[in-house]
Amino acid sequence: MSDEKEKIHIFDRQENVDRLLKGFYAICVLLVVLDLILHRHIGFVWEKLPAFYAIYGFVACVLLVVIAKKMRNVLMRGEDYYDE
C-alpha cells in the first residue's frame, strides 16, 4: 500500500519515536525525583513509601496485562463462536 509519493509522517521516522520516548522517560524520572523532594499528604500508611504511586501504577499495569493474558487461555474463543 505504501505509495512512494506519500508524505512521510511524524512517527514514520524512528528518531521521532525515540525522541518522544526519551522525553517520556525524562518525565518519569522527574516525577520520582519530585516525590522525594516535595511533601505529599499521607492518608494511608502505604503512601509513606517513596514513589508509592509510581511503583503501584507500574506493578498494577504489569499484573493487569499478565493476568489478562492468562485469562485468554480460558476465555478466548473464535470470532464466530456464538454465531455457529
Binding site: Y25, C28, D35, Y53, A54, L64, A68, K69, V74, M76
Partner: protein, 569 residues
Amino acid sequence: MSELPPFLLFFAAALLSAFTRGLPRQLILLATPVVAGLYLWQGISPGTDIAYSVMGYELQILRADKLSLLFGYLFCIAGFFGAIYALHVKDTKQHIAGMTYAGSALGAVFAGDLITLFIFWELLAISSVFLIWARGTERALKAGMRYLVYQVLSGVLLLAGALVFYHQTGTLEFNHIGLEAGVAGWLIFIAFGIKCAFPFLHTWLTDGYPEATVTGTVFLSAFTTKVAVYSLARGFAGEEILVYIGVTMACFPIFYAVIENDLRRVLAYSLINQVGFMVTGVGIGTALALNGAVAHAFSDVIFKGLLFMSMGAVLYRVGNINGSDLGGLYKSMPKTTALCVVGALSISAFPLFSGFVSKSMVMTALMQENHGYFWLLMLFASAGVFHHAGIKIPYFAFFHHDSGIRTQEAPTNMLVAMSVAAFLCLFIGMQPQYLYALLPWEVDYWPYDLTHVLAQTQLLFFSALAFVWLNKQGLYPPELHSVNLDAEWFYRRLIPAGTHRTVNILARAKTSVVTTVTNQIQGAQKQFDKSPLAKYHLSESWPTGSMVFWISMILAFLLLDIFSLGLLA
C-alpha cells in the same frame, strides 16, 4: 412557564422529525436540546413540581431538585452533541428513537413517583433498542433482542417493587427507599442494578452497545446507565453493599478490556468500569462521595461520548473497528486522533481534564471513610483505565504499526460534535467550580493540590511506562480476532446447548424404550408361534384387509339399524 415537563420538548421533536426531512429536520434536532437545556436552566428551579392524578393516584410528573436538574442539564448536553454527531444520518427511525430516548431519560430523572419512573424506564428500553436494530445486521437484531429482554425485565421488577412498596408504605413517592424496605427494596434495587450493569447483569451492555449504529452508540452510552446511577443515588444512597458492587464493577471489566479486540466493546467494558466508580460513591453515601458519584456521571457522559464518537468516526470511515485490523490512522484522520486523545486523557483522569476533578472526589471519600483496601483496588482500577482506555484505544486505532489503511478525516458534523465534547472535557477539568456549583450536596472540595496532582501524574505516567515496557519486551498481548467468554455464555451457550442436549437425551431414551418394547413383543410373538396354540385358526394374525372388511361390515350394520329405527319412528 414551568407547567411544561421538559421531556415533552424531545417527544415533540421525535414526532416532528418523523414528518420532516433535510434542513428543517436538522434544525429541529439541533434546537431541541438547546431549548430544553435553556428551559431547564431558566424556567425550572429546585422545588418546582407538577402533579397529575390517574385513577385516584396522585402522581408527580415533574419534581425538580438539584440532583434531578444536574442530570437534566447533562442529558441536554449529551442530546446536543449526539444530535450534531448524527446530523448526516438520513434514517428517520434513528432520529425518532434518539429523541424519544433522550426525552425518556429526562422524564425518568424528573419523575417524582415510582409509577412515572416506571413508565419512562420502559420508554428508555423500547426507544433505545431501535438504535441497535437500526444497524440492520443479523448480529444487531439478535443482540437487540437480548438487550430488550434485560431492559424489560428490569422494568417488570421495578413495577413489581413499586406495587409492593405501595402496599407496605401507602406511598409511591420516589425518595430514599433502602434495602430495609424488604422485598420491595430488593426488587427495585435489582431493577436499578440491571440498568446500572451490575456484575453478571452487565452483558446486555457489552453485547448490545458495540452492535448499535455508529451514532446510536453515542446516545446509548449517555443515558441508560446514568439514569440508573441517578436512581441509585436517590433511592439507595449509603447502602454498603453498593461499595462492594461498585469496586467489583470498577475492577473486573478492565481485564476484559485489555484482551478485547472490538474497540467499541473495549469502551463498553470501560463504561462499566466508570459506572463502578459512581456506584461506589453512592455506596459510601457521604456528601463528598455522592457529589463525586454524580459529578463523575457528568464528566463520564461527555468523555465517554467523545471516545465513542471518535471510534464511531473510525468505524464510519474504515468500516471496521477491530484493533487487530487498524493502526496508523493518525495519518489520515489527524483531527479525530487529537480529539480522541483528549477523551482518553479525560477518562484517565489526567490533571486539567474532566475525569480528574470528579473521580478524585470518590477516591478522597474512600480515604476519609478509611476504606483502605477498597481504595487500593480503586487505585488499581484507575491505573487500569489509563491502560485500556487511555492508551489502548488511541494506540491501536491511530498509531501502532501502519495497517496501510488510508481514508478521509471524519465528516465535519462529527468533528464539530467531538470538538464540543472535547471543549467541555477541558473546561470542566480546568474550571471545575462551575460543575461543583451544580452539585446537589454542600461540600467544600478542591481537587488541585500538590498531593493529588503529583500522585495522579505518577500513577498515570508509570502505568504508561508499564505499557511501553511490556510492548518493548513483546509481552503485550496482540489484538486477536476473538470472542471472550463473559456471563452471557450462560444464556447464549450453556442454556441453549443444555436444552439441545436434554432434547437429544430424551429423544434417545424414547428410541431405546420403543426398541425394547418392540423387541419384547416380537420375542413373545415368536415364542407363541412356536407353541402348539399357534396352530388354531383364530390365533393367526389377521391381515389388515380383513380388519377393514369387518369394520365396514359393522358400520353398514349400524347404518341399516339407524335407518330402520328412523323408518319405524
